[in-house]
């Protein structure tokens, strides 16, 4: 008999599966780990507009860093 903890973990995995498919549909380029981190941040109250701006800023920096290498 799966414990309540197992059920919760299974449900969380299913949600990330669904969100990852939506993420791919929208070409967000978030991998599964990054998506899980974003879900955690938003579930803990971080504003999605702010988080989107932070990610875009980091990606811009990453692009510049790759260009310099």
């Amino acid at each position: 008999m799966p414990s309540q903890q197992d059920d919760k973990r299974q449900a969380a995995r299913e949600v990330i599966d669904i969100l990852h498919e939506i993420s791919i549909l929208l070409n967000t380029h978030l991998d599964r780990t990054e998506l899980s981190l974003c879900v955690s941040l938003i579930e803990n109250g971080v504003n999605p507009d702010v988080l989107a701006d932070v990610i875009k800023e980091l990606r811009k920096e990453a692009t510049l860093a790759q260009r310099d290498e």
């Binding site: 969100l19 070409n27 967000t28 981190l37 879900v39 971080v46 999605p48 507009d49």
Partner: protein, 128 residues
Amino acid sequence: MSARAPTRSRRIDDALSQLIDSILPPLTRSYSDDEDDAVATAEERRHRDRLDRAWHAIETHPDGANGLAATIAGNINNASDLIKRKLIRENASPDKAVKFSNLYSRLLTQPVLGQKWAILYLLYRLSE
């Protein structure tokens, strides 16, 4: 500035830190032993700077880390419509919009998430 300002949630801090490392992986080129320490210190400072900038953005935004104020609630509650319209507008065939509708229906039945629309809105904002 103290290593971590007291008001900053540990869970948000950890998730932000991992997200930064994922998007901006530390330098991997090989260095001599002497240079190693210097590079490690520079990496640590760079990471700290990015984390502080992310926290600054969160803490200074009107809604910041205390959730969703009315200003953007309208947008967020319409996240699924925004996404559907985008997929219809940007794709010749309706397949992607139909697939999204199915995924969205499945998402609505999931009990674990409290901020479904905010997460969908984030994906919309990051979409190309």
